[in-house]
Symmetry: C2
Subunit: 213 residues, 2 copies
Amino acid sequence: MLTRAFETPAFRDGFAELLRWRRDVRRFRPDPVPPALVTRLLEMATLAPSVGLSQPWRFLLVESPDRRAAIRREFEASNAEAARIYAGEQASRYAALKLEGLREAPIHLAVCAARDPVAGHGLGRQTQPATLRDSVVCAIHTLWLAARVEGLGLGWISILRPAVAEAILDVPSGAELVAYLVLGWPEAAGEEPELAVAGWEQRQGLAAVLETR
Amino acid sequence: MLTRAFETPAFRDGFAELLRWRRDVRRFRPDPVPPALVTRLLEMATLAPSVGLSQPWRFLLVESPDRRAAIRREFEASNAEAARIYAGEQASRYAALKLEGLREAPIHLAVCAARDPVAGHGLGRQTQPATLRDSVVCAIHTLWLAARVEGLGLGWISILRPAVAEAILDVPSGAELVAYLVLGWPEAAGEEPELAVAGWEQRQGLAAVLETR
C-alpha cells in the first residue's frame, strides 16, 4: 500500500510540534508577504471541511488604508469598553496586554460566512444552522496552521462589534463576519501562548475537560 | 537558527497532502481504537487556539450502548425530516447518501462548549460571544487532522436536534453540544469528498469566494 507523505513518523512528530508552536500572533515585523503565498494559503483553507460541502467561506482582503484605520478605531473603542469589567491588578494586567497587531501586520483578512449558500443544497444544516459558521472556522484554522508551516503568524482580532465591522468592510449581502485576521511575519516564536507568558491564564490538562457517558 | 520539524520542505508537502486527504468519514471498519491513542488525540486537540485562552472544550466519550442507540434513533428521525425538502432526482440522491456511521464507528465523542468558562476571565469574547463555540470548533478540527495523521477517520454528525442530543447525553450544566463525532479506521481513503464522488456537490475555486476591500 502506498504510504502518503503525511503517514511517516517524521511527519507525525512535525505535526505534533506544529500544534505546540502555533500561536495567536499580535507582534509582527513589517516585511511584506508575497501575494502568491497569500493566495496559496487561501487555496489550502478552502480544503477545510464544510457542512454538506457548502463551502460557505467568503474572504475579504482588506487593503484600503481608510478601512484599516476604521477597524483600528473600532478595536480601540471596543477594547476600552471591554476593559471596564476588570479591576485592580487584573485591570493593570489587561491594560498591558497587546490584543491586536493591526498597525504592523501587512495582511488584513476578514473572513465571512454565507448565511444560505446554494452549494450543498442545505444538506446537514437543517437541525444545526451554526454548522455554516463552524465550517468557516475550520477554514480559518486550516489557514492558521498552513501559515505557521510557512513561518507566518496569524492573529484573530475578536474585540470588534460585528455590525460595526461589517459596515466598515462592506461585507457582501447574505454574509456575516466571522473573524478579522491579521497575518505577517512574527517578531518571535514560542511554545507558550502569549496570554500564558503574560500571566493572564494557563493551559489546563485534559483530565479537567473529559468525561465518559 | 534552529529549524523546527515542521519547517522543512518535506513537512510542507506532507501538510498540503494531509489537507487534501482529510475526509468526513462515514464508513468504518469495526476494529477498535486503542484508548491511549484516543487520549493522545484529545491532548493534541487541547492545543487548539481559544479566545482569551478560555479552553471552553468539554469532551464526552459516549460508551453507553443505550445512549448510542438513542442518538441513532434521533439521527433517523431528524434525517427523515431533513429529507422532506428534496424532491425528484435530488430526493433519490439524498436517500442514497450515507450520512452517519453510528453503528460501525468504535468511538463516539460528543464535543461541547462551556457557556461561561472561568478560564480566560472573559477576555476577547465580550463583543463576540460566538468565539467560545469557534474555539471548540478549532479543537475539533485539530482532532480531525491529528486523527488523519494516524490513519483514523472522523465524521461530524450534524443531523441531530441539539436539545434532544443534549438530553440523551446528559451534557454538563453550563455547556452546550457543538458536535457529535464518530471516529475509527476508515474503509477507504480518497482525495475527493464523498459528497463530490456521489455527485451531490463539487468543490469551488478560490476566485468565487475572494474579494478585495
